[in-house]
């Protein structure tokens, strides 16, 4: 039987409408809890949620939500690849930041013109992210170091290395901000005016995010590699018996996870800030973990999760306008993740029982002689 952890990280699937029921229940539950917190704090929850809904439906906010969610989604994909085979890549955070530093340094140096510079920058980020993650993979298969521990350590090291690179090699001082040389205008990834009436276009990387989501699905569900990966995640012993080289899978999966992690910093670098500065957003990797849990590693589920998360993150200003503490957003995010986990667990148990009943019912119908059931 699957362990709770398997279900937590979505290595066990839920069928049909149940897969949708769980998150819906969870979000309703989270709204309920948050309302209670708001009431205790002396705020009007109805007004608060109405404000959130209103705020979220305005074009500038919608554009911002989309832009924020692009990075979140790619980061969640990076986490999910690992989750599907029981690897906890906590190091997405360090991988994308280090990748962004090096890519920003290279892109800012503008050794190639225009589109070639974009390609070079992206490839650089992918390679750096993959290599950084590979360290944890290699440590795991050669020395048995838990990837949870090693990636957390590598996050700290990535911060130090990135800071050192910026201070000593890539950094240009501008006022009080130390940043890499800005990537030239001809190598900016253009935005797409998706949302009418928004002052800013939607980050062009949204296209890449959609492609990556589809690639993730195809890789996991249609390829032999994906099958091996999922089999290893569900039952390592069965995978070994089936001939999967688990050590090679660990390294390969970490490399893929790190490569995608490297990409997750690119929407910000090539589509928004064009340099790696002290203000480069942090914590994307951890947000990715939450979203992967929320979306059960399902490419569509994670897209919804990323949008929801981005919506909540951007709504802190709207809440502050109502004199509601912005921390309520974090409470809500936490409650959603928790209730999603609980809801999936309940639904999962229901499904197991339901399926066993269904099988025994359908088998009982045609009475054939032979066979005794224990």
């Amino acid at each position: 039987m699957s362990s709770f952890l398997d279900r937590l990280t979505g290595r066990v699937r839920l069928g049909g409408w149940l897969a949708v029921a769980a998150p819906v229940i969870a979000i309703l539950f989270a709204v309920l809890i948050t309302s209670a917190v708001l009431l205790v704090a002396g705020n009007d929850p109805v007004e608060a949620f109405r404000t959130l809904a209103d705020y979220g439906s305005q074009p500038p906010t919608m554009a911002l939500i989309l832009n924020t969610s692009v990075g979140y989604y790619i980061s969640a994909l990076a986490v999910a690849v690992g989750f599907r085979m029981n690897l906890f890549n906590i190091g997405v955070d360090g991988q994308y930041r280090l990748a962004a530093v090096v890519a920003a340094g290279l892109g800012g140096a503008a050794v190639l013109p225009g589109v070639l510079n974009i390609v070079l920058t992206i490839v650089c980020a992918v390679v750096v992210g993959a290599l950084w993650a590979a360290i944890a993979g290699v440590l795991k298969v050669t020395r048995g170091v838990s990837e949870v521990i090693s990636t957390i350590m590598l996050n700290a090291i990535a911060t130090g290395v990135g800071s050192w690179l910026v201070s000593n090699y890539f950094g240009v001082l501008n006022g009080n901000d130390l940043a890499t040389r800005p990537i030239p205008d001809d190598a900016h990834v253009p935005g797409i005016p998706l949302v009418a009436g928004a002052p800013q276009p939607v980050n062009g990387f949204i296209v890449l995010a959609v492609i990556l989501g589809a690639a993730y699905y195809v890789l996991l569900n249609r390829t032999r590699f994906g099958f091996d990966l999922r089999a290893t995640g569900q039952s390592e012993t069965a995978a070994v018996a089936s001939g999967v080289n688990v050590r090679r899978m660990v390294v390969a999966t970490m490399v893929i996870s790190g490569a995608v992690a490297g990409l997750s910093g690119m929407p910000e670098l090539l589509g928004a800030s064009f340099k790696y500065s002290n203000n480069f957003p942090t914590g994307l990797g951890f947000t990715g973990i939450a979203i992967a849990l929320l979306g059960r590693n399902n490419p569509v589920g994670m897209a919804v999760g990323a949008l929801l998360w981005a919506f909540l993150d951007t709504s802190s200003d709207a809440l502050q306008l109502l004199n509601i503490s912005k921390e309520i957003v974090q409470i809500m995010q936490g409650v959603i993740v928790l209730s999603v986990i609980v809801a999936y667990e309940l639904v999962h148990r229901y499904r197991i029982v339901a399926e066993q009943r269904r099988v025994s019912r359908e088998l009982a119908a045609p009475a054939e002689p032979e066979g005794a059931a224990a």
């Binding site: 099958f227 999922r230 089999a231 569900q234 066993q356 099988v359 005794a372 059931a373």
Partner: protein, 458 residues
């Protein structure tokens, strides 16, 4: 059975204990009512000690919070000695063989103060004299006023140990009989609803062509040889049986041949080609089929649909794969074929493997491993824990494949099965192959004593 233990709710009907009706929502309710269950598939945490496993969930308290391990240790020792279970409380479960694990399970239930014991296929993993010991224990328990529900497919055992027998087929009570009034054959016919299967193989199909050749194979674990210098040949059309008490190196031998475990060997060839350096995948693709000892751990992805389980272990070969892609249509079609040919009772190929009964799971595995024209089939306990109908079907398939030239390495704890199916039989003891036995002449009792070393050199 799951209902009795509170793992499932009944749709209708009632349960009475000592005359009063009870309703169980969870196993905890059942435990509280004095019902204890020994599962066929052990529910033990591998990396905890026996002591920890036993107290898990009913931890002895001292002063409210602190765990009183000393007291638990003492009680476990007492129970173990009282029923002759021979359990060392401080060993980790990981180190224990299957037989020991089962005794831990029984002890766990007794520790919880159960008055009614449910034993699900308890003898499947035991050799004859261990079975005798177990029955002795069970009789002791009964004489002390405990009630035992003994679930088994082994009819002679049921006849010997039970005071009353209820036959269930497809979830319905077929008959309740007194063991004194019924023969094993009569009982079996009640169960199967048709005539009795037997593992007897008729004429020999052994050829001269060697399929698998093993010379000087050793497996070291922590510096100790768990398989020590094993050598044998299996010819096409031959079933080679390995008899041995659980934990004497059979599992390691199988894993070494499958390439799942490091080993040293002077020679390891399949169809004349050396496979010593081959990966597990290549060995499988090269024609080794594998029915693992523990189908839940090694044979199936329990929470994946049947057709994905069809792919497992065959993910590089047609009809499951084309190049780097999984061929869904091909795999699904072939799964339907297996379900059809091997009579896997399932509503469809999209249900999870976990939803099937053990017998049907095993038939699926057998069907899968027989596909792709294997040269050699390694069958570890192929009929462990499956119902009589499935057992007969699996035996049939093995015999047919053998007649078609398949070489089979058969490991089993079921001595009748070993003797009945094997063309030649070797006994393994403490990792060494200690004896060759002729299955045509040996009795289960002789074989049992050879396995325990009592009749060394027999």
């Amino acid at each position: 059975m799951k209902i009795l233990y509170g793992m499932q709710r009944p749709d209708e009907g009632e349960i009475r204990i000592n005359g009063s009706p009870v309703g169980f929502h969870t196993p905890a309710d059942a435990i509280a009512a004095g019902i204890g269950m020994v599962h066929q598939h052990f529910m033990l945490a591998d990396n905890l000690t026996v002591l920890e496993n036993v107290v898990l969930g009913s931890e002895p308290r001292k002063g409210g919070i602190a765990l009183d391990f000393a007291a638990a240790h003492k009680r476990i020792k007492e129970i173990s000695d009282a029923y002759g279970l021979g359990i060392r409380p401080d060993a980790t479960v990981e180190e224990l063989g299957v037989g020991d694990r089962q005794r831990v399970e029984i002890l766990k239930v007794l520790y919880r103060g159960a008055r009614i014991l449910i034993l699900d296929e308890p003898t499947a993993v035991l050799v004859p004299h261990e079975v005798e010991e177990l029955f002795g224990n069970l009789r002791d328990l009964v004489s002390q006023g405990l009630t035992i529900l003994f679930i088994s497919h082994k009819l002679d055992e049921v006849l010997r140990v039970a005071d009353a027998i209820t036959v269930i087929r497809r979830g319905t009570t077929v008959a309740t009989v007194d063991p004194k009034d019924v023969t094993a054959r009569g009982l079996a016919e009640l169960m199967v609803g048709s005539e009795l299967p037997s593992p007897e193989t008729r004429e020999s199909t052994v050829t001269d062509v060697v399929a698998l050749s093993v010379r000087g194979l050793s497996v070291l674990t922590d510096g100790r040889a768990v398989v020590d210098d094993a050598s044998f040949d299996i010819h096409k059309g031959e079933v080679l049986g390995i008899a041995g008490v659980e934990g004497n190196g059979q599992a390691e031998l199988v894993e070494a041949i499958m390439g799942m475990r490091a080993c040293t060997a002077d020679l390891l060839t399949l169809n004349g080609a050396s496979i010593a350096d081959w990966s597990t995948l290549r060995r499988r693709a090269g024609g080794i089929g594998y029915i693992p000892e523990d189908r839940h751990r090694h044979g199936l992805l329990l929470e994946s649909p049947l057709w994905e389980n069809r792919v497992l272990g065959h993910q590089t070969r047609r009809p499951n794969a084309r190049g780097i892609w999984i061929d869904r249509a091909g795999a699904r079609a072939d799964t339907r074929r297996i379900v059809e040919e091997y009579d896997v009772r399932t509503p469809g190929i999209d249900v999870d493997a976990a939803a099937l009964s053990g017998g049907n799971q095993q038939k699926l595995i057998v069907g899968r491993e027989m596909s792709g024209d294997p040269v050699l089939l390694i069958a570890s306990h192929p009929t462990r824990g499956v119902d009589v109908g499935a057992q007969a079907a699996i035996w049939d398939h093995l015999r047919r494949a053998r007649a078609a030239g398949l070489a089979v390495l058969l490991i089993s704890a079921d001595l009748d099965e070993l003797i009945g199916l094997s063309d030649s039989l070797k006994v393994i003891l403490r990792g060494r192959i200690v004896a060759d036995v002729d299955p045509a002449t040996v009795t289960p009792e002789q074989l049992g004593s050879a396995m325990t070393g009592a009749g060394e050199g027999a």
